[in-house]
Symmetry: C2
Subunit: 145 residues, 2 copies
């Protein structure tokens, strides 16, 4: 369980990075593994904190660079949570997000209707790369209070 030894980058992680067209560096592997371990949505700043807790000190700017690279390589996806909060998550199947306006918690919403509305609508003024539905509302926890 001490695969966290410095200099040691798990093979599959390194491979995943290279397959994404990225160099397999330690910070990148570290953060990718962190995402795989934790799941969910995390801000660059939150990652710095998580890494610190695990004894890895990475400067903010580097973490920002890493998540940018991982996103560019398609390994991470961006989920904007409003008010300047940029969250990242492991790229999986396309899905939507539910943002609680009270507590700010962001949850995945698995969309049962597979097609994205308007994606091929002629009123769309360009080539669509990605479409995202964001639901804003009040989550059950906050609603009960």
């Amino acid at each position: 369980m001490d695969a966290e030894r410095a200099g040691n980058v798990a093979q599959d992680t390194a491979t995943a990075l290279r397959e994404a067209g990225l160099r397999a560096t330690r910070p990148r592997a570290l953060i990718l593994e962190l995402f795989r371990e934790m799941r969910g949505h995390h801000s660059a700043d939150g990652l710095v904190a998580q890494l610190n807790e695990r004894g890895h000190r990475l400067p903010r700017a580097s973490v920002y660079g890493v998540v940018e690279a991982l996103t560019r390589g398609g390994l991470l996806s961006i989920a904007h949570a409003g008010s300047g909060r940029t969250l990242y998550e492991l790229t999986t199947v396309p899905h939507s997000h539910f943002l609680c306006v009270t507590c700010g918690e962001l949850t995945d919403v698995v969309c049962t209707s597979s097609s994205i509305p308007c994606a091929d609508d002629t009123s769309v003024p360009g080539r669509v790369l990605e479409a995202q539905v964001i639901f804003r509302g009040i989550c059950r926890d906050c609603d009960e209070t």
Copy 2:
């Protein structure tokens, strides 16, 4: 044409503000009229610039307060453009947005399918107040280049 004289608030603008449950102050009228004149999406910061060009000097913080109030009153709607950019637009019919990842331009997309996908899906973890579809892609202008 010089309805811009200080202290003079156009009647219909004042009425619109009061109907929204807001006090009819000059900054609010100024900004609301600006939106009606310009259409489109604007950031709080952009509004400050626009107002300056027209000879109205309003401090940033006030503009932020005004758009917050207008949004609270339902006169403006928020359109998050990612990366911490919060844009405002006159509230009209519900619609989606197309964000060009190259130039950052935000355009309206009039959605022909009126229903919001998944809005009543049981997988949504709370009470939905609002749903927004955002398309990310490359607009025609940038695509041609």
